[in-house]
């Protein structure tokens, strides 16, 4: 079967926010089929066979995640994570703003599959337009009898509730999101217990990314084999990739995993005239940089991991030869330090320390010893926090210090000359 776009199909051509348009193109048929014809376990089975891996960042197999829920007779919850805030990522924003109904349909199918009667969508606070579009779409779907109790003449039903974030990157971490959803301070929970055992309101909960859920109607429609045979077998399927940085036409591109980075660069219009791409961050602000020699690597979860970085949420940022990597490193470190919730000592103190050190280097106060210290401190704060935010600092910083050490030394030398 030829590979073609599914999630982004029609965007910019028709108004997919319109329920009628969405239904005319086959929307909500899979939801009706699932609820009237399939058992939840069958849905889980189909999704497992598709080998769909989470599109939010960690790439965990979705079917396996669903399988962790205990059979304890307690209420369960499906939570859609739309707190997209990873630097460089803007695909979920497009999905909820442009095609809210496929996200709703995915949430309904996912909720049904795990036996949840209630689903929540946690929308990043800054996504005002996404929130408005989604709210309208939800009301339309409810009026059309697609959401609520006893749907399509069955005993089953799913309700969806929207919750808006208040501007914290950390709430994209699933347990911080759950705390925030409960009205508590948005900080990650200690694990174990994991959300599958004790999640929202201490009940079994699945948190899935917007894009992950949006794929469900298509996997059910085309069959799991369709999805599983796209791209590399262990990392299959389509992916909406946000491409930005020093490219002519930044944007979201839905591609088959296994595409090369060079192809993504071409999709985004290529480098600026007369410029050369010298580095690329393939998986958002938390990922380590790859360099020009890596542009022909296959863009998939496992290849990225094998090369010391990650696919993450699918945010590809290209850097050309005009880049000041000291400034770039400072911008990202400042972001993570600013967004640290402050619970864990290494992340709270270490991130801030790196930020002030980089700031000093940028302002001409750098010491020779600073450069080794930056790498050492970033290493020291990694792997000992209760969530991955702190661990997000080291990959980019360490990779660019190693590759572009001369730029960092240059700042320090400037100071030496001035002195």
């Amino acid at each position: 079967m030829p590979v073609s776009k599914v999630l982004t199909r029609g965007i910019g051509q028709v108004d997919l926010r319109d329920l009628k348009v969405y239904r005319r193109r086959g929307g909500y048929r899979q939801w009706k089929r699932v609820i009237t014809e399939l058992q939840p376990a069958e849905v889980v089975d189909l999704v497992s066979k598709s080998n769909l891996r989470g599109r939010g960042g960690a790439g965990f197999p979705t079917g396996r995640k669903w399988g962790f829920l205990p059979n304890n007779g307690r209420p369960r919850y499906m939570v859609c994570n739309s707190d997209e805030a990873e630097p460089g990522t803007f695909k979920d924003r497009m999905l909820i703003e442009e095609t809210p109904h496929q996200v709703i349909e995915g949430m309904l199918i996912g909720a049904y599959a795990i036996g949840a009667k209630q689903a929540f969508i946690y929308i990043r606070g800054e996504f005002k337009r996404g929130y408005e579009v989604f709210t309208k779409a939800l009301a339309d779907a409810r009026d059309a009898g697609l959401i609520g109790e006893q749907l399509f003449g069955t005993e089953h039903g799913v309700e969806i509730t929207i919750h808006r974030g208040a501007g914290a990157y950390i709430c994209g971490e699933e347990t911080a999101l759950l705390n925030s959803l409960e009205g508590k301070r948005g900080e990650p929970r200690l694990k174990p217990p994991f959300p599958a055992i004790k999640g929202l309101y201490d009940e079994p909960t699945v948190v899935n990314n917007v894009e992950t859920l949006a794929f469900l109607p298509y996997i059910l429609k085309n069959g799991p084999e369709w999805f599983a045979q796209i791209g590399p077998p262990k990392s299959p399927g389509l992916k909406v990739v946000s491409v930005s940085g020093h490219v002519k036409k930044p944007g979201n591109f839905e591609v088959a995993l296994g595409t090369t980075l060079r192809k993504l660069l071409a999709l985004a219009g290529g480098p600026r005239d007369g410029r050369k791409i010298i580095a690329v961050q393939p998986g958002g602000g938390s990922s380590a940089c790859l360099f020009e020699e890596h542009l022909d690597l296959s863009y998939d979860f496992d290849t990225m991991a094998a090369n010391g970085t990650m696919l993450g949420s699918g945010a590809v940022v290209f850097f050309d030869d005009t880049t000041d990597f000291v400034k770039a490193a400072h911008a990202l470190v400042r972001f993570f330090a600013h967004e640290s919730c402050g619970q864990c000592t290494p992340c709270r103190e270490g991130g801030h320390w790196l930020e002030v050190t980089l700031e000093r280097i940028l302002h001409g106060g750098g010491l020779d010893s600073d450069i080794d210290m930056l790498v050492a401190v970033a290493r020291q704060l990694t792997g000992i926090n209760l969530c991955p935010l702190g661990d997000s600092i080291e990959p980019f910083l360490a990779s660019v210090v190693k590759r572009f050490e001369s730029q960092f030394r240059g700042y320090v030398r400037k100071r030496a000359i001035a002195v």
Binding site: R185, A337, E339, G342, E349, T357, R360, L381, I384
Partner: protein, 758 residues
């Protein structure tokens, strides 16, 4: 949940040990006396996983693990030291100390600071920070008791978790995030809690300190003694820290799981300044022609003994009476009965306030039983006002077991938890309590009619159920006084009867031990004062010249609870031990010593010290037949005189404040803001109807008279249609009023007065 928990065998630092499944590594290590450093973890608060100092190396796990949230596993091999572990801890400590001010030389925590200790054990000598440290506020006033030094804070969140998990008050939170985060109240209002002092002990660094102890001492200069707090009847174990004869602070006792669970209320913790107050009495004083003259101890005791003999000779033993307050030890309570009964006197009573009964009857429960209750019924003054530590157990039952909370009467709950409310015990019948197997009943011990109604209800449920009863009254060691026989027997008069007899001129001599009936006895200060003045010879043993002492003939300087040894019963009837923790002022004697001297002068034999201790400690506590036991209410009329309610409007509620009282609180200058104002508390609705606002001044008009100049306090937790005043305030004595009657607000003025913290 059947059978014994599964056991798991693991190895820590080469030592094999077997512990129950689910044990945390940090707790397992304690079994082999291995100390794993912790900041955020606390056994009573559970793991938080924030500080990351408790890193240990678990074989077959690549990364270091936090011991506070890793449970033991079969065959697990754990190393709590070694290069890998020590490097992890060094890293965490480097981060913790990065912006820490290192002002140890002027920090109150210096010498008992976990940050100091672990820095010495695991830290590195020098910091790699090349930039200036972050400057943060140094002395943030969090409320009447606590000061925050934000630079020292390591954000372990013990304080906020205590306020959330243990007290359920949720007023302390972490504000802002990352490096900018700071401990504060969510609403920006002062941090007010009757358990606030505990956060200073939980704080592993010097960030949270007590106003009463800031910059007072170094821990190594303090002498510590373990005793029992006698500020209320809870019976908490308490550590007294003294230097040069002055009690500088008190600390909780971590192993006191039977009672306090290692917490203290603020009254017990902070009301210790009175011990070294210059107003302490240090010499017997005799009133002669309206003037106080100093007297030697021997002369004082001889005078007293002679007067007693003369009274018995001239008017018979019925002309004698003895009152003993709740600060007495069991030995002292026992000796009062022993000495006065030897004279033939049966007019003996401990009830010098509103509380009329101490023993809860044969169904009395323990502290642990409270936690197991599925339903909790609070009748009258809630335990939070009288026995704060008991209220923490109740909160535990509510938060951990989802116990149903039911209030009887008009009293406000200090925290916001779901509860139901009925007017009288008999109304409990409508609540389907029979579906629970374990029910705890708390009664304030004040109104016998309420007590016996409650008793009837509880007994009706007892079949096939566990009923736990508690009398959480306001009088400390009331249980001991009642158990040791400080109650009238064989036709003797109780306290109300004694005052009636005094008024009628039938008492020749009255002895008052460690009590202040002028302030606390129902009937009103004027009435009690008048009765006392009508007795030719009144002896009072006291620490201070209280309103009662002022009206006495002979005042004997006594010793406080931290200055003597003995035993008490806690509110559940368990024996607690008092040991002296600070030297008493010269010239004072304990009530025990006074009683022995008196007995000797009277020619009454007393048991030797060993026999006395044995008798008092092992004396089976006297057990009432239940709430409102008629045996205790022979005199019947216990209430304030009631002239018939003619005022209209609001129902009067007489509550106790943690810091009510005219004795130890009144004479403790360190307490400052904690001393309650005379307030009239109303719900928002009631205030709106009555057209009064927070901070207004009002008078309360009742049939018995008028209480003037009360500050209006509008609080959401009060029952509509009621007005709550505080008892035990020397400036606005509420003892003349009876709770539950209808009163009116009068003379409302909008005058704003400096208002303390509610």
């Amino acid at each position: 949940m059947n059978g014994a928990p599964k056991e798991v065998t693991l190895t820590i630092d080469g030592t094999q040990l077997t512990v129950p499944e689910g044990t945390l590594l940090v707790e397992a290590a304690k079994r082999i006396k291995t100390d794993i450093p912790v900041y955020c973890y606390h056994p009573k608060l559970g793991p938080a996983g924030l500080c990351r100092i408790c890193l240990v190396d678990v074989e077959k796990t690549p990364k270091l693990q936090i011991a506070c949230n890793t449970t033991v596993g079969e065959g697990m091999v754990v190393h709590t030291y070694g290069p890998k572990v020590e490097d992890g801890r060094r890293a965490v400590l480097e981060f913790l100390l990065l912006n820490h001010p290192l002002d140890c030389p002027i920090c109150d925590k210096g010498g008992e600071c976990d940050l100091q200790d672990y820095s010495i054990a695991y830290g590195q000598g020098a910091s790699r920070l090349a930039d200036p440290k972050e400057i943060k506020p140094k002395a943030i006033d969090l409320g009447p008791t606590i000061v925050l030094d934000d630079e020292r804070c390591i954000v372990c969140q013990r304080c906020t978790r205590f306020d959330e998990i243990i007290t359920l008050e949720q007023s302390l939170v972490v504000k802002d995030r990352g490096q900018r985060d700071v401990i504060a109240t969510a609403t920006g209002t002062p941090y007010v809690s009757m358990f606030s002092g505990n956060v200073t002990e939980l704080c592993p660094v010097g960030a949270l300190t007590s106003k009463t102890y800031r910059f007072k001492s170094r821990p190594w200069d303090l002498n510590r003694s373990l005793t029992t707090c006698v500020q209320c009847s809870a019976g908490c174990a308490i550590n007294v820290d003294e230097r040069h004869g002055e009690v500088l602070r008190t600390m909780s006792v971590p192993g006191d799981d039977a009672v306090s669970e290692g917490w203290l209320c603020d009254r017990g913790r902070y009301n210790v300044g009175f011990y070294s107050d210059p107003r302490r009495l240090t010499s017997p004083l005799l009133r002669r022609d309206g003037e106080w003259v100093q007297l030697g101890w021997e002369d004082a005791i001889d005078l007293w003994a002679r007067t007693l003999h003369e009274a018995v000779d001239s008017a018979g033993p019925k002309s004698l009476a003895a009152l003993g307050g709740g600060r007495l030890t069991n030995e002292e309570a026992y000796l009062i009965g022993h000495v006065f009964r030897a004279l033939g006197c049966e007019n003996i009573d401990w009830r010098t306030g509103r509380q009329r009964q101490a023993s809860p009857g044969p169904r009395g429960g323990t502290y642990a039983d409270v936690e197991s209750a599925q339903a909790i019924v609070l009748v009258g003054v809630p335990p939070a006002q009288t026995t704060p530590i008991m209220s923490l157990r109740i909160r535990k039952a509510v938060s951990q077991r989802g116990a149903r909370m039911i209030l009887v009467g008009d009293y406000a709950l200090p925290i916001r938890v779901a509860h139901e409310r009925v007017a009288r015990p008999r109304d409990l019948a409508s609540l389907d309590l029979d579906r629970y197997e374990r029910i705890a009943f708390f009664w304030d011990g004040i109104d016998p009619r309420v007590g016996s109604e409650l008793n009837e209800f509880a007994e009706g449920l007892a079949e096939g159920r566990k009923i736990f009863t508690y009398v959480t009254g306001e009088t400390p060691n009331a249980r001991g006084a009642e158990g040791m026989g400080l109650v009238p027997r064989s036709g003797g008069r109780d306290s109300v009867g004694m005052l009636a007899a005094a008024r009628d001129g039938n008492l020749r001599s009255l002895a008052i031990f460690a009590a202040n009936p002028v302030l606390h006895m129902p009937g009103g200060a004027d009435s009690v004062r008048g009765a006392i003045e009508n007795v030719p010879f009144v002896v009072t043993t006291e620490l201070f010249m209280t309103p009662t002492a002022e009206r006495s003939t002979l005042v004997l300087p006594a010793r406080g609870p931290f200055e003597k040894s003995g035993h008490t019963f806690d509110v559940t009837g368990a024996v607690r031990v008092l040991r002296p923790g600070v030297a008493a002022p010269t010239g004072t004697l304990s009530d025990l010593e006074i009683l022995i001297a008196l007995a000797s002068a009277l020619g009454v034999d007393v048991p030797g010290p060993a026999a006395l201790h044995r008798q008092a400690a092992l004396h089976a506590p006297w057990v009432a037949r239940g709430f409102g036991d008629p045996a205790l209410f022979a005199e019947g009329e216990l209430k304030a005189p009631r002239a018939g309610a003619k005022a209209t409007g609001l129902r009067l509620v007489i509550a106790a404040d943690l810091f009510s009282g005219g004795g130890t609180v009144y004479h403790d200058d360190r307490l400052g803001e904690l001393r309650p104002l005379a307030t009239a508390a109303l719900s928002e609705h009631t205030a709106a109807v009555a057209e009064v606002h927070d901070g207004y001044l009002v008078d309360i008009v009742a049939a018995e008279g008028t209480l003037r100049g009360l500050v209006v306090r509008v609080a959401p937790n009060h029952v509509d249609g009621t007005v709550t005043i505080l008892e035990g305030l020397p400036d606005a004595p509420a003892s003349a009023f009876e709770g539950g009657q209808t009163v009116a607000l009068a003379n409302v003025r909008a005058a704003r007065v400096p208002v303390g913290v509610a």
